[in-house]
């Protein structure tokens, strides 16, 4: 029960946070009283903590000595609990999340109670799951647990197992009669929520983990998503049932969904849960916890479409933040910093999967940088890319106090200079720049800040504008004065300015915006409003000169408009700007806005 959290420990934690000068941080759920609006209180900020899966899934020497996936044990969870409490709790990390396998032995054979509910594997957790949660709570931390979607096949027991607290219901009464399977691994029978017993089964699971004292549940293998689509894998009803069950119990339990959730159902995920994994596992299932290419770097492409969905109550989950030990993580220092930077600016939950007893100095500095944590935990919206998803890219968010959080990324395999142009943020002139990773005021920069970034490197700044707002001149793609070639044509688009866009930019399709007037020759950060259901590239050129190919991030679907700024060289007077699909498929173009000054 929630009241099991020792009041003494809770107070000590708040005091610690305050004395550490981190007054903006208040553990959301702790601060809230368990009232009716717990759903919002539960995930007022992206949660922070530790998860067991990264080490459990790794072949890093020594982590899984009793066979693959054997890492997860009571002893290891206790060890990590103590390490989190002593090293990271004061920075806001307060979740210990037990991931997959707690009810399965090292051969992956499951345990269930007499009601078909997952039960602790006695070898892994000899003291049982409640004792583990109690141990976690005794350290002033929250306990997280994990379940797969659906009724696990092994729990079906020929349909004869009774459902707890549901007279007359058995496992046969909660699934479809044809025993259709569901979830990302087809490891469960799909629950049939048209049957009255089915909600009871979810209620029984929810009651069990609530009784044990868990504060967080990761529901995994959820579709559409988890690599599956179609009715058989549509688990929206499961998620709704869990939401209903948790609400009914009254204990605040954070409901997190996994994995690669379908963007098309984002509204459902947002309605019923507190967070959703937007991507596949970050883990590499290899000799380290992760690798850059498999699959940390996917997040730069896959996150932007989701950005607008994140907010209090539900967050875009980028998966574990495994930056604490370079050797075990399998990443360079630059990659680890970039990893942490993206997670922070995207306001992802910050949960590490590292061995907290073996953090290296650099890992500690990354995980405990209060300025960076504050970016993740602040009231500001998540950052989005203000440039295309090219090898060098800039993400930014405007903060409520008028400053900007600006992240520079170099995803190239070679070092590069990366610039953040103020006009892409919406202002011109001077701005003060603070380097958050290095805790250093870098001074005042005019028009832009440029820094050298290593391969896969990043910088994270707070930019305080000292100039004036940028003014833009807009040009609609569909304007009659423009030139369309190839298959390019004008199409309706309710979300677009003017209600129209230019689409069908593929294999030679081209849009030339004519008569783009610049007062002075120079490079202008032209803001492109576009629509693209997937990430697509387009070659942009001016006045028939050399073109540069840019990859525009997905806007999620073909009805949503996004914007990025692209450098375009203009001469004084009238110019043409051409968007050429070349040999591929380009995004649809809504309009362009040209700033009144170059950069």
């Amino acid at each position: 029960m929630y009241s099991l959290t020792p009041v003494r420990a809770l107070r000590a934690m708040v005091v610690l946070a305050l004395t550490a000068g981190f007054a903006t941080y208040l553990p959301a759920a702790e601060a809230a009283t368990p009232t009716a609006d717990t759903a919002t209180a539960v995930a007022a900020k992206p949660y922070m903590g530790w998860s067991s899966w990264s080490m459990q899934s790794s072949k890093y020497p020594g982590l899984n000595p009793d066979g693959d996936y054997s890492y997860l044990t009571e002893a290891n969870v206790t060890k990590q609990t103590d390490a989190l409490a002593s090293k990271l709790k004061k920075y806001g990390y307060d979740h210990i999340n037990i991931d997959a396998g707690w009810w399965r032995d090292n051969s992956w054979t499951p345990e269930y109670d007499q009601y078909g509910r997952q039960a602790a594997d006695p070898k892994r957790f000899p003291s049982g799951m409640k004792a583990v949660a109690d141990r976690i709570h005794s350290k002033g931390l929250k306990a997280g647990i994990y379940l797969p979607a659906g009724l696990e096949k092994e729990a079906y027991n020929s349909g004869k197992t009774p459902i707890w607290n549901a007279e007359g219901c058995t496992t046969a009464d909660v699934v479809h009669s044809d025993l259709r399977t569901t979830n990302g691994w087809d490891s469960s029978y799909k629950l049939d929520f048209s049957r009255p017993c089915t909600q009871k089964y979810i209620d029984s699971q929810a009651q069990l983990i609530a009784d044990w004292g868990y504060d967080y549940l990761k529901l995994d293998g959820v579709g559409p998503g988890s690599g599956k689509s179609g009715d058989q894998y549509d688990n929206v009803a499961d998620v709704a049932a869990w939401n209903k069950a948790i609400t009914a119990i009254g204990r605040p339990i954070h409901l997190e969904l996994s994995w690669s959730l379908d963007y098309g159902h984002a509204a459902d995920w947002k309605k019923y849960s507190n967070g959703w994994r937007i991507d596949t596992d970050v883990e590499c299932y290899c000799n380290t916890l992760v690798t850059w290419e498999n699959s940390v770097d996917d997040r730069w492409d896959d996150t932007p479409a989701w950005t607008s969905l994140a907010g209090p109550g539900g967050w875009n989950d980028l998966d574990s933040l495994d930056v604490g030990n370079g050797a075990m993580d399998g990443l360079t220092k630059a990659e680890r910093q970039s990893y942490a930077t993206l997670w922070a600016v995207a306001k992802s939950p910050l949960f590490t999967g590292d061995d907290l007893t073996k953090l290296d100095d650099y890992g500690v500095s990354l995980l405990t940088n209060r300025e960076v944590i504050a970016v993740d935990q602040s009231d500001a919206p998540p950052a989005r890319p203000v440039t295309p998803s090219d090898a060098q890219q800039v993400w930014a968010a405007k903060n409520p106090n008028g400053t900007y959080t600006v992240a520079l990324f170099n995803l190239s395999d070679a070092p590069a200079a990366v610039s953040a142009n103020w006009t892409t943020l919406g202002f011109t002139g001077k701005a003060a720049v603070r380097d958050l990773w290095n805790h250093e005021d870098l001074g005042t920069y005019t028009n832009k800040v440029t820094q050298a970034l290593p391969a896969h490197g990043s910088r994270l700044f707070t930019v305080t504008p000292r100039g004036s707002a940028v003014t833009l001149t807009g040009y609609e793609a569909e304007a009659a004065t423009n030139t369309l070639s190839g298959n390019a044509n004008i199409a309706d688009c309710s979300a677009c300015s003017g209600g129209k866009k230019v689409g069908n930019l593929y294999v030679g399709g081209k849009l030339t915006v004519n008569n783009v007037v610049a007062a002075k020759a120079g490079t202008y950060q032209v803001k492109i409003a576009y629509v693209s259901g997937d990430s697509r590239s387009v070659s942009v050129s001016s006045n028939g000169n050399g073109a540069t190919s840019h990859k525009f991030p997905s806007t999620g679907d073909w009805g949503t408009v996004g914007t990025v700024s692209v450098p375009v060289t203009l001469k004084a007077g009238a110019n043409t700007i051409t968007f050429d699909s070349g040999s591929g498929y380009a995004p649809d173009i809504d309009r362009i806005d040209v700033p009144n000054s170059s950069s």
């Binding site: 070679a414 250093e440 050298a452 970034l453 990043s458 450098p567």
Partner: protein
């Protein structure tokens, strides 16, 4: 100051000097004379158009595109300039595997592998790690290449302290120097590591030997102030230093002498490297720098180029941004374009002095397996490398090429006599006779040949060497190269065959051959061979006359020349034929311009009325068909040909095409201005020729010369017309020209003689004849009248 290297007995240095004192076949890596130290040590730097700059360092995997080159003509390196992790990939022009390679494969051609033919490889890798200066923690990073001084630099701020470093390869001190300094109370703490790249462990010095017997070695030392510099096992550690100097040197016991097997058995490169770094470390970094700069400027400062003024916006961009802006804006950037020429000159001075000449990559590698071995390719590449030298005031850098050919000649002659007539060689002489020498498409520094025979390679090499004589009028040079010219003529005397044309005329044609890298492999009378041999025979006659030698043989050769078949224009395509056929037997847009070799670099085909119009038209049509969109050296060669045809627009466009930014390995100019050739989708490799060929094209657009004739601004593009100047441009006929122009017209031309006496000077259809004594000059004005 503390030194990390134990003292060596002084006598070692003296003994080495004595051992290597012979005049001929001096090893490339040899005891240095006491360096000339300049009195005046102040030089302006940092703001001229000849200072390139960037805002990012190189990474471990991007050294070839982002590393900045240094070199002293022999010892070169690519520097990463990463604040926390400086990496130098060091090589010496002689670090070659392989050998004579004197056994033919079953097809009668030469093996071409890294063990048999060999490859240029790296000598060593030097790293200076400064953990607190991780790139992610520094601010305001800036990196420079000062072409005027020959110095690579980087600066950045860390916690309010400005740190600076300079890297240069000094010829006088025969070592690479890295100097780390700071202002604002900073300190350097870290380590220096020198490693071999062929399995040698980290050490303060190392020596090793290839399977081919070549010994090589390197050594490092470091010294600083205000802190500690200590040796810790294989590394040098420094802590709390206000400044730090690292000196590294190395080389091999290569000797350019076939008679000695291309080795100096007495030379111990490891010991010599230790001696050199110890000697240099006796001096402050400031002294080493000023010594280097004085030496470098003496070589580099012979030539200046202005192509006009760039805008403030252009000047505000770093070099890589500027390359990109040149492409996306379409606007000329005259200072960038001039700096690109000067960058080529920088590579020439850095890569070609006193050792082997530059091959496909010069001294700059990122591994031990450069494409095509980083070798000498004789069907365009090595020739193009040196087209620029005389034209851009670097005649002395040409000597490495000359000396190389001279030193290889005995071996080339021997291989030709032994192996060319092998019955499996499809290019062998039908006559059954063989004489003189020739080469294969690839050559190495051990007298060895690689890949296929290249019969006409001897003529092209000889003609290149002859052109240097035309520029310099150096009799010493002429005497050196005369045996090469004569041997090449002897080869062709034995090779030419008689054939009867349809019109009944009996002509001499080259035997079975390949027009370089395309078409049939058994063509007779290929245009390339006919043209290049025609030029060779002419050059030989001139050499013979000049030296008053072998007049009888020269008469014979001149007789053969008169009977040589010269190409015709195809009645079907209208192109100058590449083969003795009206048909196009190859790729229309093929990279090589072999059949146009006498449009450039030769000048039999001239658009001045002296060449039949149909030939000029046919050459123009062929050049047009070859297209404008090739890559590096192929574009440079096209540009040179268009300059010869006085088509400024095309010549300039091809220069611009080579300046396109190389992205993801695409053809064009890399971040560090190296020219990149996309060998396959997404894989670009560095090929140095265009870095020389493109500057050569720029000079050729401004000044055309052949003995007795100079033409000013033959192909001046609009982009550079407003005003400009070229100073110190070499001209065939024995002159150096300083030329200024304004509004597209020359305003002043100073013709300085380095041996020439009289020449016609032409501009816009008007000509004047000037006479000038060697050493003297004449200045011409008022061309517009």
């Amino acid at each position: 100051m503390s030194s990390a290297l134990p003292d060596l007995p002084r006598r070692n240095l003296l003994a080495l000097a004595a051992a290597t004192g012979a005049l001929a076949g001096l090893p490339a890596f040899t005891a240095s004379a006491a360096p000339q130290r300049p009195a005046n040590t102040s030089y302006d730097s940092g703001t001229s158009p000849n200072t390139l700059w960037w805002q990012a360092p190189a990474g471990d995997t991007s050294m070839i595109e982002q590393g900045l080159p240094v070199g002293n003509g022999r010892l070169g390196a690519l520097a990463s300039n990463d604040p926390g992790h400086e990496v130098l990939l060091i090589t010496d022009a002689t670090i070659w595997t392989g050998g004579l390679n004197g056994t033919l494969d079953s097809d009668g051609q030469f093996p071409y592998g890294r063990a048999d033919f060999g490859s240029l490889t790296l000598l060593a890798r030097l790293t200076v790690d400064i953990p607190d200066h991780d790139l992610g923690a520094v601010n305001g990073y800036r990196r420079t290449l000062d072409l005027d001084r020959g110095v690579v630099g980087a600066s950045y701020v860390r916690s309010g302290v400005t740190y600076k470093r300079e890297v240069f390869s000094s010829s006088p001190d025969d070592a690479i120097v890295l100097h780390f300094s700071q202002s604002g109370g900073g300190r350097y703490t870290g380590s220096v590591t020198l490693e071999g790249t062929h399995g040698e462990a980290a050490a303060l010095s190392f020596g090793a030997q290839f399977a081919n017997g070549l010994k090589y070695g390197a050594a490092v030392t470091a010294y600083g102030s205000g802190g500690q510099v200590t040796v810790n096992g294989a590394h040098i550690e420094f802590s709390g230093c206000k400044d730090l100097t690292v000196v590294v040197s190395g080389g091999s016991n290569y000797a350019p002498d076939a008679a000695r097997g291309f080795r100096d058995p007495k030379l111990d490169p490891q010991k010599l490297a230790r001696t050199k770094v110890r000697a240099a470390a006796q001096h402050s970094a400031a002294t080493l720098l000023s010594t280097h700069v004085a030496d470098f400027r003496a070589a580099f400062g012979t030539f200046a180029l202005s192509l006009g003024t760039s805008s403030d916006d252009q000047r505000a961009l770093d070099t890589w941004e500027r390359i990109q802006a040149r492409h996306t804006s379409g606007d000329p950037d005259p200072e960038l374009e001039a700096a690109y020429v000067q960058f080529g000159r920088y590579l020439m001075v850095s890569g070609s002095r006193g050792s082997l000449p530059m091959g496909l990559q010069g001294l700059w590698l990122d591994g031990n397996d450069p494409d095509w071995m980083g070798d000498y390719h004789t069907d365009i590449n090595i020739q193009m490398n040196y087209w620029m030298a005389d034209r851009a005031g670097l005649s002395s850098s040409f000597d490495a090429f000359t000396d190389y050919c001279v030193d290889q000649l005995s071996s080339w002659t021997d291989l030709t006599h032994r192996l060319f007539q092998d019955s499996r060689n499809r290019f062998r002489n039908t006559s059954g006779k063989v004489a003189g020498w020739t080469v294969a498409f690839s050559t190495n520094p051990y007298g060895g040949l690689g890949w296929w025979w290249h019969p006409a390679g001897n003529a092209w090499l000889s003609n290149s060497l002859w052109e240097h004589y035309e520029f310099t009028h150096s009799r010493t040079h002429l005497e050196k190269i005369y045996p090469l010219l004569k041997g090449a003529c002897e080869f062709w005397q034995a090779r030419l065959i008689t054939t009867t044309l349809d019109n009944g005329k009996e002509v001499l044609v080259a035997d079975h051959d390949w027009s370089p890298e395309q078409g049939p492999q058994d063509g007779r009378g290929n245009t390339y061979a006919q043209e290049v041999v025609w030029t060779l025979f002419g050059n030989y006659a001139a050499a013979s006359a000049e030296l008053k030698r072998d007049s009888g043989f020269a008469n014979t050769i001149s007789g053969l020349r008169r009977r040589l078949y010269l190409p015709e224009v195809s009645p079907t395509s209208g192109w100058l034929e590449e083969w003795m056929s009206p048909d196009n037997l190859g790729e229309t847009t093929h990279r090589h311009l072999s059949p146009l070799i006498n449009l450039f670099p030769g000048d039999r085909i001239r658009p001045d009325g002296s060449t039949p119009k149909d030939i000029v038209d046919g050459a123009t049509a062929l050049l047009t068909a070859r297209g404008m969109n090739s890559f590096g050296w192929a574009n440079a060669w096209r540009s040179l040909c268009w300059a010869r045809l006085k088509n400024a627009d095309n010549a300039y466009q091809l220069v611009v095409n080579n300046l396109r930014p190389s992205e993801n390995g695409s053809n064009g100019t890399a971040f560090n201005l190296f020219d990149i050739y996309e060998v396959e989708q997404g894989r670009g490799i560095f090929q140095i020729e265009a870095n020389f060929g493109t500057p050569a094209a720029v000079t050729e657009m401004l000044l055309y010369s052949r003995p007795g004739f100079l033409e000013l601004l033959p192909a001046l593009p609009d982009a550079w017309a407003e005003s400009g100047s070229i100073t110190g441009a070499g001209a065939r006929g024995g002159f150096v020209v300083d030329l200024r122009w304004k509004n597209g017209k020359p305003t002043e031309a100073k013709i300085r003689s380095v041996g020439g006496r009289t020449t016609t000077v032409a501009y816009g259809g008007r000509t004047r004849t000037v006479t000038v004594k060697p050493g003297g000059s004449v200045t011409l004005k008022d061309f517009a009248r």
